[in-house]
């Protein structure tokens, strides 16, 4: 036995092993997690400057010969820590299917059309108030092979860093009222219903741009240790 304490499941994140999501069966660790001391290795993390992000990287509808098909949307939100403080200048990377539910990826065999005007990847840095903004199209639902007639609800993947490598988060943002929620083991793997609701964005009329695009709001709270690193 290790002399490090065993980490208790948080009730927020999904468990590693969730049999309804079949791919977890051979990939989920079978031994309990050990609690790392919070050294500088845990309390620091990469700092991303403006050179990581180009001016148009937040707009997935640009950069091609024409505009992508589908429903243009704005996705905004605020990234905070558990104390509600903004997480500034943190890198957010997103990727998603096109409006027809197809990814620009060789593994994706869904017989839905690719869109020559949509690659489906973007990134930006949060501002001084922790806010971010993307322009994209609403992704389509798509089938997968987890079980018969399995469909993923429409979602956008998000990757965030925070201030420390222990704040690192990869998650998925879903859209309100999706009828596929009840049938999706990845969404349902978050066992606490209030935690699941935090994966669903909210329609945002105030940010909606008249005659142009609906807006959705998705705030992110990063967990992990919140201590300020000691000076070295």
């Amino acid at each position: 036995m290790s002399t490090l304490a065993v980490v208790q499941e948080s009730g927020v994140d999904p468990p590693y092993l969730y049999p309804d999501y079949r791919s977890t069966s051979l990939r989920a660790p079978s031994k309990p997690l050990l609690l790392l001391p919070h050294t500088l290795s845990e309390l620091t993390g990469p700092v991303f400057g403006e050179d990581y992000v180009d001016e148009l990287d937040h707009d997935l509808t640009r950069g091609h010969a024409g505009e992508p098909l589908g429903e243009r949307i704005i996705v905004t939100g605020r990234v905070t820590d558990r104390d509600g403080r903004p997480v500034r200048s943190t890198l957010i990377e997103i990727w998603q299917a096109n409006a027809a539910g197809r990814y620009v990826h060789e593994v994706d065999r869904h017989p839905a059309p690719l869109d020559p005007n949509f690659s489906g990847a973007g990134r930006c840095l949060t501002d001084d108030d922790g806010r971010y903004r993307f322009v994209t199209v609403k992704p389509g639902a798509y089938p997968w092979k987890n079980h018969p007639n399995a469909w993923r609800p429409a979602h956008i993947h998000l990757s965030l860093f925070g201030r420390a490598f222990t704040n690192r988060l990869v998650t998925q943002m879903y859209f309100p009222g999706d009828p596929l929620f009840a049938y999706d083991p990845i969404f349902q793997s978050v066992r606490d219903s209030r935690a699941r609701e935090r994966l669903v964005c909210a329609f945002d009329l105030e940010t909606t741009v008249p005659e142009w695009a609906l807006a959705y709001r998705f705030d992110v709270v990063l967990g992990g240790p919140s201590e300020t690193p000691m000076e070295t």
């Binding site: 948080s10 990939r27 690192r168």
Partner: protein, 170 residues
């Protein structure tokens, strides 16, 4: 009341379109005088390679300092589940409450089928300071060995099974 965190979800099978370009696996140029190559495989509970995994590292510089603009890297995996980085060996970083840790990398593995990443550390072979490292010392000998790379800096990560790599929470 503290805000409740946003839950984790898997990176799924298509993350390469958003996360693997441009390539971030070289922390220093390969011709850097201090460059080292680190590589390894991600293996599932059957010992099969996990080709659709992504590995991230976070490390101190050669002087043992965490600095802006250095220390983070990301690598996808090939069909054999193999990742690789070019970096420098980090120096020793202070431990909580005094003393120094042995040189190590913080490592996260993301994959389809992992609803949240696994977190581990990679230590360096034949480093005398390994004997003084608190995290290594806390593990039984067989598990300790699984956190130390081979002499050629190969570091395989086994997600599951009797030979599972020790994983950490925070």
């Amino acid at each position: 009341m503290a805000a409740q965190p946003t839950p984790s979800q898997t990176v799924g099978p298509f993350f390469s379109i958003g996360l693997l370009e441009p390539d971030r696996s070289h922390l220093v140029p390969p011709d850097d005088v201090d460059a080292i190559g680190i590589y390894g495989r991600i293996l599932d509970g059957d010992g099969e390679p996990v080709p659709d995994a992504m590995v991230e590292i976070w490390q101190a510089d050669a002087d043992g300092r965490y600095v802006d603009g250095f220390g983070w890297g990301r690598s996808g995996c090939d069909a054999e589940g193999r990742y690789s980085f070019v970096t420098v060996k980090p120096g020793r970083v202070p431990d909580v409450g005094g003393g120094l840790q042995a040189p190590h990398l913080s490592v996260l593995v993301f994959a389809r089928g992992l609803l949240k990443p696994v977190r581990t550390r990679m230590y360096f072979p034949d480093d005398d300071s390994n004997a003084e490292d608190r995290v290594l010392a806390s593990l039984p000998e067989d598990e300790r060995g699984r956190l130390i790379a081979r002499p050629d800096l190969q570091f395989d990560i086994r997600l599951q099974g009797p030979e599972q790599t020790p994983f950490f929470g925070v």
